[in-house]
């Protein structure tokens, strides 16, 4: 287990949290740990409780959906400096997809329940955190729509 001061530094320098106040970084330090996933390791699987949200420091994670006919289909890969997992934000707090490490991946793991509590107690923190997540949603939704339109496919 890393020391909190190191975790605080890692949180502060992550792109997703850049510019966040040191008070809020210190708050998150209380419920953040560091974990390493090896290629093939599942970070989570669809249907499981969404207990953490993850900030990727290095490596790459693939978001997948399992289809009995097609097997695991890769929908997106998420790399360093990005955030992984939003199902902890909306009830019933269960993952919708699988997440699997493609490379050795190091991530900051933020306890979801504590995050929700912290947002309720400190609305300034909650707003700041949600505002950043909204940016992530917008970016992912746009990318998903572009992928959906099959832009390299036939025009007809």
């Amino acid at each position: 287990m890393k020391q909190h001061s190191e975790i605080g530094a890692m949180l502060a320098e992550h792109e997703f949290l850049r510019g966040m106040s040191s008070k809020h970084i210190a708050l998150m330090e209380e419920f953040t740990s560091v974990d390493t996933f090896h290629p093939g390791d599942y970070v989570f699987r669809a249907g499981e409780e969404a207990e953490y949200t993850y900030l990727i420091r290095s490596g790459r994670i693939s978001i997948e959906i399992y289809d009995p006919q097609r097997g695991a289909v890769l929908l997106e890969t998420i790399a360093a400096e990005k955030v992984l997992g939003w199902s902890w934000l909306v009830p019933p707090y269960k993952w919708c997809f699988d997440a699997r490490a493609v490379e050795v991946t190091r991530m900051l793991c933020l306890n979801a329940e504590r995050l929700r509590q912290a947002g309720e107690l400190d609305h300034e923190f909650g707003y700041e955190f949600h505002k950043r997540f909204t940016g992530v949603f917008a970016e992912r939704l746009r990318a998903a729509r572009l992928q959906l339109m099959d832009m390299y496919g036939p025009l007809t």
């Binding site: 790459r60 693939s62 997948e64 097609r70 097997g71 695991a72 289909v73 890769l74 929908l75 997106e76 890969t77 790399a79 360093a80 400096e81 699997r100 493609v102 990318a143 572009l146 992928q147 339109m149 099959d150 832009m151 390299y152 496919g153 036939p154 025009l155």
Partner: protein, 280 residues
Amino acid sequence: MTLTTLDAPMSPLPYRIRQVTWENRDTFSFALAPAGEGSCERFLPGQFNMLYVYGVGEVPVSISGDPAEGDMIVHTTRYVGNVTKAMSRLRADQMIGVRGPLGNHWPAGEAKGKDLLIVAGGIGLAPLRPLIYEALRRRSDYGKIVLLFGTRSPDDMLFRNELRQWRSRFDMDVQICVDRAHQDWFGHVGVVSSLIPRAGFDPYLTHAFICGPEIMMVNTVEALIKRGVSEEAIFVTMERNMKCGIGLCGHCQLGTAFICKDGPVFRYDEMAPWLTIREM
């Protein structure tokens, strides 16, 4: 004396198909050589030829081979409609008409001393391949060379051998991104523009060359500008239906430009106003 396109710009010259290579299920490359005596016309990366399938019709297709290769000219075509489907049925030793090379070229000379960022989407890698051959031949002219290639799936990949060779070089960074894949794929999945924020080039000292579907190019340009690349350092290619290919008929007009004559390569800031007008 060999007749050239310059002598009779509307008359296709007969070329023989020397080799047909299927790149994936709907895309094939032809290596062509003049049917008579003489050698292929020299071309610059980014230029195209009008290819005439005898009795069917003529379409513009970029030159995808190595500009240094004098005795063959290579085109990579994806079949989408009448002419390209008929073209896909041609076999080695059959004839095809060639008019060109036409249009302008990638301004690689302007990028000297800078990083070179090449972003290709799908068949858009074809017109960029000659630029990559040239850039690697003049490797010391550039800083970093980065190729970002977006395609539909791993099965839709073009130029697998080259991509493998380029990836294995220490002086070039190649990243491939697909829209969807299975677990045997170890590359990126997502839109190709998502690779830009972390790609290894200096945004203030980079020339970017982009070719692909227009939506992909617009998205890519947006990501580049966000990263700090100036609009004047971004070049895109435009595609419109063509007839004459030499600036006479007006078929390919986009705004004040004729794609066939003033393009197909444009500096982004010169083309940007027209990209957002739907009827264009």
